[in-house]
């Protein structure tokens, strides 16, 4: 697998252009690789909050990884309905990442069904937003960290998006999954570390 090691800016036009050259099944696998990178953080979030949705979301992503699975455990609308809204009261720490994790799985399911380029790009966007949310947890109220592309969580996720894009046409889904799983565990370190800093 060829990984781009130099830091890159997140560019959805470039990602869409790359996806457009790939067959539909590869676009779906790319979306799965994106979603997988948020699953460790989502598992951590569900353990922290007692949320019961991890199992159903995990099973949905597993079915999206399996192109021969004719009957996915849950449809994309079922999964999208699990995304917590911001009108449901104050959301606990890590909930922004959880929102992105669940949305990315919904987009992975949709990409598997449709092979749509934009749907796969939306799956990738969840990584960028989740990393941004982790970075912004360190900002003072009413301010934002401006140059997020230089921040390690964002660099990790952007590198992961492009690594998946480069690899998806040439490696097995098992290799894509393994790489995404590793990135997800590293990202979990950022999420849980950020949470412990805020609570101490």
């Amino acid at each position: 697998m060829t990984e781009r090691l130099a830091p890159r800016d997140y560019d959805e036009t470039e990602i869409a252009g790359g996806l457009a050259t790939l067959p539909c099944v590869a676009r779906a696998l790319f979306a799965c690789a994106c979603a997988e990178r948020l699953m460790a953080a989502f598992r951590w979030f569900c353990n922290m909050t007692g949320g019961a949705s991890y199992k159903v979301v995990r099973e949905a992503l597993d079915s999206a990884w399996s192109p021969n699975d004719a009957d996915p455990a849950a449809g994309e609308r079922d999964i999208a309905a699990l995304v917590p809204g911001d009108k449901e009261g104050e959301l606990p720490l890590g909930s922004a990442v959880a929102q992105n994790a669940v949305a990315s799985v919904a987009y992975a399911l949709q990409a598997r069904r449709t092979g749509d380029v934009q749907t796969a790009v939306w799956a990738a966007r969840q990584l960028y937003e989740a990393a941004d949310a982790v970075v912004q947890q360190g900002a003072a109220v009413q301010t934002y960290v401006e140059d997020i592309d230089q921040e390690p969580p964002v660099q990790l996720m952007v590198r992961g998006v492009y690594a998946a894009l480069d690899a998806v046409g040439s490696v097995t889904s098992a290799d894509l999954l393994a790489s995404a799983w590793q990135d997800g565990e590293v990202f979990l370190g950022f999420v849980s570390g950020s949470a412990s800093q805020l609570s101490s």
Partner: protein, 128 residues
């Protein structure tokens, strides 16, 4: 003829913030559009304040800011409250607010406490 205050309250005031809030909400992916709320608060001083609820503005939304706009941020708070807090912090006077989803009772009360007039559709308020 001037309308009685009660009738003024019954109309939907459409201001400059409405197209901007549509643009702000439209910068989100479809699932996020259904789960997040965006707000644009205009002020008498001419400064625009952009806000989103709970998790605050996404990178794509922040990229829509015009020069001089304030990007509001108040983790966990609703978009409307986040925008009002930013105005207060900057010493600005609210003139109108447009939101992408109907205001909840809590935000409704916060607007009225500041003498804001709520639109019938709950998608905005203005300060006469």
């Amino acid at each position: 003829m001037r309308q009685p205050r009660q009738l003024v309250n019954r109309v939907n005031h459409v201001g400059a913030g409405e197209p901007r809030v549509d643009e702000l909400q439209g910068a989100l992916d479809p699932i996020a559009q259904n789960s997040r709320t965006s707000a644009v608060l205009s002020t008498e001083e001419g400064t625009g304040i952009l806000a989103s609820g709970a998790r605050d503005l996404s990178p794509a939304q922040r990229a829509l800011a015009n020069e001089g706009d304030i990007l509001a941020r108040s983790p966990g708070a609703h978009a409307e409250i986040t925008a009002l807090e930013a105005a207060e912090k900057a010493g600005l006077t609210p003139s109108e607010i447009a939101v992408s989803r109907p205001m909840c009772l809590e935000c409704h009360a916060a607007m009225e406490a500041l003498c804001g007039v709520i639109n019938d559709d709950l998608l905005g308020a203005y300060w006469p």
